[in-house]
Amino acid sequence: MQHYKLVKHAPPLKYSYNDSRTVVHIKSSTPFMSAAKRILKNIDYFDHKYTKKGKPIPNQNKLVSYIVVRGMGKAISKVTNLALYFDHELGYKVEVFTKTVEVLDELQSANDDDVYQRRKVSCLELHIDLQKKEPQSES
């Protein structure tokens, strides 16, 4: 009987420098409020800025209309809570998408060749709009 050590690898993400402003990844160990604050900071970054005299500073990121929040597996419940928080408590428009991400598992052996397995993990993606929802008229 061979003894294997399971090593889970990160999903194969593409790197883009701009993603650091628009995409927030949530781990199961990310504290809820720290995630919420990071998202709010990113939203704030794309907000209109004004000079001291009140002139608007031209926004170079006009194409960005939402912040992406992603979490896989165990972190899905945390992402769901974030969706509820931003939608109901803060009044942002939130779209929710489900996804499947393929990840690589490595079964490491001391001497023999390692075994690689693909595994599919469910993933939740939020699109949080930069603009808040219009306050609904009470009827």
């Binding site: 090593v7 690898h9 990160a10 999903p11 194969p12 993400l13 593409k14 790197y15 420098y17 650091s20 720290s34 393929e102 990840v103 690589l104 490595e106 052996s109 001391a110 001497n111 023999d112 060749d113 390692d114 690689y116 693909r118």
Partner: protein
Amino acid sequence: MADFNQRRAKLYNSRLIRAEVADPAFTAAQDPVTGVSAKLDVEKFVQSREFEIKEFELSKLRSRYSSATRVFQSLPRSLRRRTASHNVRRVPKRLRTRALREMGLLMKEPDGNETKGVDKQGRPSKAKHSRGRELYRLRRQEKLLRYAARLKLSGHLVDGERVNVRNVKMRTKLKELRKRIQELSQRVEPPLNNVCGSVDWTGINERATIDKVSTIRYITRQREFKWLPTHVWHAKRAHMVKRWGWNIAYEPTMKCFRQTSRQSRTKGCIGFDTSFYTTIVLKGDGLGEIVGTLTDGKALGKKYAQNGRIWEGFIQVDDELLCHSMVWWIKNGKECMLRIHPSVYDHVMDYLLSKKDSIEVQDCRYSIGSVTVTGPQALCSLASIIHPSSQTVASQLFGQLSTLNSSAIPLGSAFSFFADDPRLWPRPTKPHAKPSDALESIIQVQSGAGVEVSTMEALFSVEGRVASYAGQPSLKQLGRRRTPDLVGRPIPKADSDPSVPIALVKMQCGFVLLAPWHWVLPFWHQLAHTPHFAIGGLKQLAQLRFEKGELSFADCAFTRAGFVEGLAKAEELEARWAKRPKSKRVNYDKLDEPGSPFGCDWRYLQLLRQKLKQVPPVEDYTGTEFTITQERVIKNKQDVFEAIEDQKEKDRLITALGKPVFTQLPIKLVGLSEQPDTASSQLSVVAVKFSMVNRGHPADNARIYTIPEESYLRWLEEAGKRTILGKTVPVGLECPGKEYLIGYATSATFNLAAGKGTGVGLIDAEVAYDLHAKNRRTFVVRNVASTACYLAEWTLVAV
């Protein structure tokens, strides 16, 4: 122009003190309705004066600040230059006019310039004497002339043999000279195959030396401490240290604690010139046995020796752990590459050269260089400067994976292929990968498809490296080939342009690019131009390991090199402490620190843990006793501390006699799998990482205590306390006594990755085993010279 006027106006306004011209207190004229004549309105009068006083104060501030800032101060931090800030050419073009005006240079004054050392146009004025290369040339000339004159006077021949000039006839003199010239002209030297002066300095079955250099100018500075390929680049941007026979960047000149942490985790990348790591190529039939001894048989498995996977771990000689290193088999059990830390170079080389009957040792420490790049963008940055020479399976796989976040590539992934001269491209070029199944490519790379055998053979052989230097163009030659119609495009590759064998390996410290020594600099220059790139030195390498909760070089106090490093650091701290006036330094004598307060005192810990075991269950305080050999009999706990002092005094005497105190180190690293061996004279320790449970900001050399049995529950209770808002509260418990000391934190500080204080250290294995058995995961940490101590949660670090 309007802008200029606006700014002038601003400056004018800043000097102006506003006063209320139309004073409402006086202007109330005769009331037309009531006919009451004007009188002083006291309230309005007071308001007006208040306004004026405020304005006066404000104007003082305004005029101070309006002239206090200079334009170069508004640049991003990395572009700011404090030195030579009078030189407008150091300021970006768009800000030059403003910078000139700030220096008063555009104002047409009779003598023109106001700033020292600058002419009217803001250029540095002509130097009064030669500088730089010119100065060097003149000095050299002077020296040579002096030398020649002295030779002429004393009658030396060129090679130094002393001759009495009076006894030598002219004919003999000429004969001797002709003979010498003939000798020199017939000396066979391997011909250079390039104009750059790139030579391969491999030592075959001997230590490598730099015996022939193209730039003689710098050789005197490298007599003891050699330069890395990127030395000149780094020396301008970083503080350098002389260690292990190298001149190495210690830390960048610009503060970068936060930047390093961010670039390594969230965006961008950090580059290190790690050419100081020694690469040794081993060949021969007896290789299996030798590599087996070095790696304790671990690197001999089928997946390493036959299938070419990379082994990373601690190597050992004579059962003594040496350093974290890497073994990579090049040819199926016949040839392998060993990469070690320079601090153990002599030790390993001695061992390997003693076995040279059965293997061939190629010392490539001056012939294979490396660059380490870490951070999420590392692979993208490397891919934008590495251009494969031909389309092969390996280079295609590299291209497919090149857009991925570096964390997605598993450890031990390796690429190796021939690449073009990176200087052909005017700037780093972002890779465009075709969409493909990334996981499939990763699996292929892990099974060895990313490695080309021919490249590996070229990179790890003298002939291959020499061939890569053939026709290496100089920057001047490349500049001539870069015609105006090629702006923004690469120079077409000529037939004479060489291909460079390179290897790219994902290791624990990041991506390591291995290249022939004289190709490292071209790659580095291009890499430094990639966006979001930062540099790091030895300190940053240690910081990255610390943030991950791993042991850096200096944390490995169980290795001889790491132990010496700790002693050196402690000595330096002590010297700095001793330099301060007595009233300004901490009085450590009164604090009664366990062990030296300047470092981790492993000798103290070893003696303490071993002598505490000798304390009898019923302590006896009747008086001190000595054995015949003048050893203190341990009858109570106090005797333990006295005995430690005795032993340390003995150590001091031995050191004073010039003998080494330690034939073996006081500590030895073990695992937690079985109960440690207590009979050994070395203290068994385990490596742990810890993070603070509640509050606390641990620092380097912090002391680690186990919690006394009686106060264990109180500690847990206190540490768990929170205010009603969820804030932590200070623990009001006293620090355990010296007898509870179990280890030291080798590095500890606030960890930006964890958001709280964390550290790594070594603790007594016996206590760790005991705690582990009881499932207790906490101990107490106290900083040096502090009475506050905090609860920390520990986990084992696998070494």
